[in-house]
Structures are given as structure tokens and as C-alpha cells.
Amino acid sequence: MLKIENKADIFHYRTLLFVLVFSILTLLSRYFYLQVIEYERYSSKSQVNSVRAQATYAPRGLILDRNGVVLVENYPTYILTVTPYELDNKEKQFQIISDITDISIDELSRRYKKYNQGRFLPTVIAKNLSFAEISQIEERRLELSGFQYKRFDERLYNDVLKDAHFLGYLRELDRESIPFLDKSQLYRAGELIGWQGLEKQYETELRYSKGIEYIEVDTYGREINTINDNNIPAYPGKNLTLSIDSKLQQFSKNLLIDQKGVILVSNVDTGDILSMVSNPSYNLDIYRGETTDSDWSNLLSDEDKPIINRNIAGLYPPGSSFKIITAFNLIEDGLLDPEDSLMCTGSYIPPGSSNTFNCWKGDGHGLVDLNKAIAQSCNVYFYETVQLIKLADWTKTAKIFGFQNKTDIDLPNELIGQIPDKEFFINTYGRWGWSERGVLLNLTLGQGDILVTPLQSLRYINHIASKGKTAKLKLNANKKVEYYDDIILSEQTWDRVIKGLYDVVNSEGGSGWRAKQPEVKLYGKTSTAENPHGEPHAWFNGFFDFEGQTYSLVVLVENGGGGGAVASPIAGEIVKFFTSEQVEMVNK
């Protein structure tokens, strides 16, 4: 009980009650006026005709490549809808539609039930109708009360890039997803929405803005008149210009023709991705029109996983390119003199262990300093020197270069891979099931529990090419250039590593000599990544200067074999593409 007593005054109570009665009576009298006195007027107004607002549409934005080549455009088709309460003889009318469109009556009935939105609202029962079919329906208009057709734009992909995962696709929107979408865009069930790839990423920009058209309809919802006042026009979506060069994309795709793998090419200075190939792929046209369930399940169960964009969602051990991570630690922290050499006899036995770790070159590299170790990818050199580094420092360096982190590319569903740290090893192998020295022998070769995406690998090589100040990777040519966090290392460290990468391609005995091109200085690192799925993955990560710009590339051939033998020649071909006559297309 609170201390202060209620002293409410009966006068105040009555004042409030008076306000209440007065307001309620005001409202009631207005209702009475509308519903009883003016009843005739509104009743006839509602019976004879009503104004219905109807959405109008405009085309979705196109997707173009950097040179203005149209990659995705719109393709008009027709859809057939039926409004349940306007049907007068459902069986007979379905028979007619079935005759015209070759869709079975069962299928029509199934869709009729599945997509039903209520007695008064049109339900879509057929899509992708041809103009000929529409003409036949129009001829039998009188028998087909309740049926309506309207234009419905679908996406049409350029033949050259119709298998490019990054473009993504549209999907028909179902009722369940609508509450999760931006309400201001006025999504309705049955409309198309960007569901994957760039179509999803840039949905807001690409999507048209809906218009409103007012139509006078009678009591059955039939159109009587269109009213032109207050209509809001629909506006087309904005076009999206990509940094992709479709010629280069096509050229690089042909380099991988029968192999699984990835080719990425980017401009280091701007972060623009010029080519992003993921093989095998599939035809994006399957999202259009009718694809049978068996085609779908074949695609989904295909062991080669054509549905995945390997660039952002494929996880691979990186192999020897991670020797550079070790090299960064060694030089930056002054753990050894890079000029010092040690002896590679072809194998290495860690102190206190009886296991032998072999170099890939059976008879050894002889005397090896850091530069030669990078150029010839000597395992023994890194086995020995990685022993000077703490696991925590090593993984920290890997993460600074963007591994186990998103590259922030403008694509949805990017994976981040895995850089195993102490905690990971304890969780996986138990506290005593592993040793720091032991796992580092694996990690320094980019093997073991490390997983990276090819795009992360591209970011890594871009960090090196730009000495730490690196533009964020992107596909939208008009997106502002942003930068990743600067990586601050001494000039000497960068120079040593870059010199090593130069010698990989250009020195005698360098593992990437097959990529060498006469007119262009190419830097790179080959990797041959062992994996449980068969032959090793062949990698080549590299960069080169061309006409004042720096370009980078990543080639990955899944289960292709040696990075030097398989991936390097492909990298060489790509550099050749730049120097050949098609160059002005790229450099625009």
C-alpha cells in the first residue's frame, strides 16, 4: 500500500466521462451518416464498380560486361492465370487449355490447387506460353471466362556466359519468403526475385520500381475502365556493369575445357575481377521455364558439383604457396639471414623423430638460400626454418593475408575456409595428440587442415603484388574502390619475397618456368596440393605488370597434377592473351 491517498474528484471523473461520451457519439454519428443515411450511394458505388489498384511492371536492369556486352537481358513470355470464382465450367475449360498448351489436365489441376490465393485472386497455371498459344486462347475467349494471360519477363543469358555462376539467377517468390523481404519494394508472390549470385547481391538496384494503375472494375472484378489520374508509372531497374571482360572470360574458360577447376584474373590496382571461371558448370537457362525434376536431381547429385561456384565456395588445400607465409615470418621477424644457405639432401628428419620428410625433388636441391627455396619450392628448407616460428605467429600471418575471412566480394554465400590454430588442433586431435613442431611441418607446405577458396588465394597474391595496400575484390565495375586493411611489413621483406616469386617463373630451375612470357615480367608461385580425392590439385598464383597496370591471376586445376606442369602453362596462356591483339579490350 502506498502512502498517498487517492483524492480523485467526482467532477474530474465526470469531465473525462463527458469527453468520452462526446467522442464516441461523434464517431457513431459519422458511421450512422455513412451507413444508414448515405447507404444507397455507397452501396451502389460498391456494387456497380470499384477502383482497383493494380501493379504495373517495367523491365529488370540488364547486366553488362566492362565493354558493354550484354550478358543478361529480358525475354518476354506469357503466363496464364485463372480467377477461381469466374470459372463457369472448370473441367471443360481445363480441357480446352490442355488442348492448346499440351499440359495435362492433372498438371493444370495440381497447379490450380497449389498456387491458389483465394477465390477472387488470379492464380498462375501455365507459364512460357508462345504467342501462337496466346492467339488460340484469344480466339476462344468466350468459352474461357476467368482465364487471363499477361506478359511476364524472364531472364535471357548471353550464349557466351550462360554458364557463369556469378551471374546468379532469379526465382519465383513464394508467400513464405515475403515477410523477410524489404517491404518498401512491394514484393508479391509469383514475382521474380534475385536468388543467387549478382542477381541477389544487386537485387535492389536491378529490380524495377513498381507502378500503380487504377482500374475501375465491376462487382465481379471485371475491368470496365482505366483511370488515368494518380497513376504512378513503373520504372525499369538500373543496369549493372561488371568488371568482367567477357572475351577474357571465354578465353580462360576454354583453357579449362575438360578439367575441373578455376581461373581468376583481376586488376590489382582497382580490385576489378576480369575473369571468374568455375568449371564444370551448368546452363543457367534451366531456371527459366520448365525443367523436369529428374534434370534437377541429376544436376544436384552430380559428383563433380557443377552447381557450386568453386571460386567462392570451393575449399582446397593451398599447397606450396603457403611457403610464402613462412617466408614472411622468417624475414620480418629477423629469424634468419635470407642469404644464409642450408643443405637439402632430398629429405628431412626432425630432431628427436624417426619419421622422414621428403623434398619433392628426390636427390635434393643442394645448397639453398631463401630465394632459391621459393623459386624451386624446396620443402626441406621450409621444414627446417619453420621450426623457428611459433604456431600462433604463423597462423596470425596467414589470417592477416585474409585467410579464414571473407574477401568481401560482392557475391552472396562466400565461404571463409579454415586456418587451423592451437584451439583447432586440441579440439580435433586432443591435447596430446599433436605437437606444434609436427603440425608446422604440414602447414608450411599448405597441407593438412588448411582450406582456402581460390578467391582468397587471389586476394593473397594481390596483397603481395601491391605490397600490402590492396583494393577490395569486386565484380561491379562502378563500385567505388575500397581497400583491405593495410598489411605493414618492411620494404626489405616485400622485396625479398617478390624477388623469389620472380625467380619462380624466370630463373633457371624455377618451378613455374612454363608460364614465362618473353615481353611481360610475370611473378608467381606454383603449388601442388596433395588431397584425399586423387591426384594433387595444380595451382598457379601470380601477377604481372602490363601497360602501367598490375594484373593478378589464380589458376587451379582440380586433381590436375603438378602446379608447375599443369597450371603454369595455363597462366602463361592468359598472360599471352593480354599481349596479343585483344589487349585493348582488356585495358579499356
Binding site: L2, K3, S23, S46, A53, I212
Partner: protein, 406 residues
């Protein structure tokens, strides 16, 4: 009913009546929602969602019932600060429908501005009850108005004009209840009426005369009264000038857009026309449950929340509206009865404040459906679909139950 009362709440007859009215309103709302849902039994239909919200709100109601009035009284400042801070949370989240009003809890959205209303009332009630002896002095009004202004300013930035205005609704009735003198209250509302009246010369002149008479009848220094009178007149005269000449068309539009961001792209006049047609065509006894052609053909937008009364009017006619208005009247009257009989001053003031909130929602929403007020997204208590507001209504109900226990 009496068993129910006696068993749980001793012998408070008003609470029994209150629960009966609230259950009737909820039932009425559910029947109407069932009628306009395309597929009422699916989990995403407004009917089922409403049912789930009600069950959830009931649960909250019983939990809050355990809290003692004294706890609320003693912690009213804390409650206010907490609600106030809660209103900042949406600014750190991504905007919902381009505003920062909502916090997404996954299964439904809550609108912290709603709870700030209650907290504001509790704080004002505490202030007024603690300063009961000074209530005859004019300056007593400043602190409550400052509190309301603070809350209102915050939600105005979300932006949410509807809630910002509603926060002021309880201030006058609570002051009246507390015994603040009539002239002071008149001084508070006079400028608002002056600004509204300024839109029409004739009305403005009449208002000027009325104001003059009132000023002359009341006590106080002549100079003070004359000054206040002319301050009022000048506000009225300057406002249209400020609006028309000082701001250009673009700025005016910006201002309107800022105040009214949920302005539908279809245009608000379209809503009003459709609503009035639906109501008018309902006639005396309506078209029957599920038979409203305007509502069933979806001519009427947001019919399950903002325009639910139009649906009732179309399907159940003037008769249905009379029933629901009677229920609203009884709801408010019962709440006032409870406030009047309440044994302590603080409880009594809180109940009056909460009642004013409910009443202003009822009034603004009804007036909107019949075109007496501009379109503003304020739902009707216990009837409109919507989780956050339904929860608020039940919180109010539980506060009233609590405060009437004394």
C-alpha cells in the same frame, strides 16, 4: 464471473467486467480476421498469427501480474530510463521499412516506443503524486511536460509521429485528475488550437473571441493575461506565414515526408475512399460474415491492422459498429471507474494515463477510417492485428489489474 473475481482478485467487481469486455473485443477481432484471411488456418495467416500473439501476451500478462505496485512506484525512474534506452536500440540495427522503430526478435517485431508510453505515464504519475500539495501552483505542469517532450522527441526521430503525438495524450487527463487548475490547462491547449484555427480566417476570429472571454474571466494580473493572449494570437498569425512563405514547396514536402514516412505509394486518399465505400456499403446490418466485397476483393489495403473497423462496418453493418463502440465505451468507462475507486493516488493517476492511451488509439483509428483524420498507422486496442501493440494492451491490462489490487 463473480467466482473468477473472488477467486483470484478478491471482490473487485470492476476487474470482472473489464475482462469480459476485453474478451469480447478480442473475439470480435478474431472473427473478423478469420473472415479476411485467405487461408485462415495456415500459420502465416493474420488470424493464426494474432492467435499466437494473444497466447503469448496472456503469458506476459500473468508474469507481470506478479509484480507489486510498490516495486513499480519505487523504480519508476529506472523503468523510464530503461525504456528510454531501449528506444535507442533500433538505431543500431538495420532499418525496418526505412524507420528505426522496430526491434526484430525473430518471431516478431517489438516497438520500444510503445513501452516508452507506459514508462512516461508511470514517471509523470510518480511526480504528480509526490508533489500533491503544490498541485494548485501553475509551475507544477512543467516537469510532466518536459518528461513527455523528452520521450516524444526521441520517438519523433525514429521517426514515428503517431507515437510522438500519442505520448502527449495522457498528459492533460492526468493533470486534470491530479487537480491542476483549469486555467493552466487551458493555457496549455490554447496554442495548439490557435495553430489549427489559423488555417481559416473565420474560425480564427471566433477562436480569438472565445479566447478573449476565457482570459477575461480568469483571475491573475491583467498585464500577464494580455501578454499571453497576444502571444497566442501572434503564434496563430505567424504560423501560416512561416509555413507558406518561409519554407519552399520542396522543404514542405520534405517536412511532410519526415513526419509521415509510411505514406503509402498508392496515396492515402485512395485508402480513405476505399474505407468509406466499404463502411457505407455495409448499411444497417452489413453484408454478412466473409461477404464484404470491398474487403474480400482486397480493395482495402492494410485491412487487418489499420482498417479493421472498416471490415467490421462492411460485414456487420452499423449494428456491428454500434456493438463495438459500446464495448469501447464500456472499456474506457470501466477503467475510469477503477481509477476513481483506486485507494492510492499514484495508482489512480497511472490508470488514468493508460486509459488515455487506449482511448486515443481508439479515437484516432476510428476517425481515420471514416475520413475525419489523416491516415496514420495507429491500431485499435485488442481488435487490430499486430503483435507489438497487442502485447502493449495486455501490459496495460496487467498494470491496471495490479494497481487495482490495493
Amino acid at each position: 464471473m463473480s467466482f473468477f473475481n473472488n477467486y483470484i482478485y478478491g471482490s473487485n467487481e470492476y476487474l470482472g467486467r473489464l475482462y469480459l469486455i476485453v474478451s469480447s473485443l478480442i473475439t470480435f477481432g478474431l472473427i473478423t480476421l478469420y473472415s479476411i484471411s485467405t487461408d485462415p488456418l495456415s500459420i502465416s495467416s493474420s488470424f493464426m498469427r494474432q492467435l499466437i500473439f494473444i497466447i503469448f501476451s496472456l503469458f506476459v500478462f500473468f508474469v507481470l501480474n506478479q509484480i507489486n505496485v510498490k516495486t513499480i512506484h519505487d523504480n519508476s525512474t529506472l523503468i523510464y530510463i530503461f525504456s528510454f534506452l531501449l528506444c535507442f536500440v533500433p538505431f543500431f540495427l538495420s532499418p525496418v521499412e526505412n524507420t528505426y522503430r522496430w526491434i526484430d526478435l525473430g518471431f516478431f517485431y517489438i516497438q520500444p516506443g510503445e513501452y516508452l508510453k507506459c514508462a512516461t505515464i508511470i514517471l509523470i504519475a510518480k511526480y504528480l503524486s509526490n508533489h500533491q500539495l503544490e498541485v494548485k501552483e501553475g509551475y507544477i505542469v512543467f516537469i510532466p511536460i518536459l518528461i513527455a517532450l523528452l520521450s516524444s522527441f526521441l520517438v519523433l526521430n525514429q521517426p514515428d509521429l503517431g507515437t510522438a503525438v500519442i505520448i502527449f495524450a495522457p498528459v492533460l487527463p492526468m493533470m486534470l485528475w491530479a487537480g491542476v487548475n483549469g486555467f493552466t490547462l487551458f493555457l496549455l491547449i490554447a496554442p495548439v488550437i490557435t495553430i489549427i484555427a489559423a488555417s481559416n480566417n473565420m474560425i480564427f476570429n471566433i477562436w480569438g473571441v472565445i479566447m478573449f472571454i476565457i482570459f477575461m474571466t480568469f483571475q491573475g494580473g491583467l498585464l500577464k493575461r494580455v501578454l499571453i493572449y497576444f502571444a497566442n494570437i501572434f503564434t496563430g498569425l505567424l504560423f501560416p506565414f512561416f509555413w507558406n512563405d518561409f519554407l519552399n514547396g520542396y522543404q514542405r514536402q520534405r517536412f511532410i515526408d519526415f513526419l509521415n514516412p509510411d505514406l503509402d505509394p498508392m496515396g492515402s486518399s485512395y485508402h480513405i475512399i476505399q474505407s468509406i465505400t466499404a463502411i457505407g456499403s455495409g448499411g444497417m446490418f452489413g453484408k454478412g460474415w466473409g461477404q464484404g466485397s470491398q474487403t474480400q476483393l482486397k480493395f482495402l489495403p492494410v485491412q487487418e491492422s489499420d482498417f479493421i473497423l472498416s471490415v467490421i462496418a462492411e460485414e456487420f453493418g452499423f449494428f456491428g459498429i454500434a456493438v463495438i463502440m459500446f464495448l469501447f465505451f464500456m472499456l474506457i468507462k470501466t477503467l475510469l471507474d477503477i481509477a476513481f475507486k483506486s485507494s492510492d493516488y499514484f495508482s489512480s493517476l497511472v490508470i488514468v494515463g493508460l486509459t488515455s492511451i487506449l482511448f486515443s488509439h481508439i479515437f484516432v483509428n476510428s476517425a481515420m477510417t471514416i475520413g475525419l483524420m489523416p491516415v496514420k498507422g495507429l491500431p485499435t486496442p485488442f481488435v487490430s492485428a499486430g503483435g507489438s501493440f497487442m502485447l502493449l494492451c495486455f501490459i496495460i491490462l496487467s498494470l491496471v489489474t495490479n494497481f487495482s489490487k490495493n
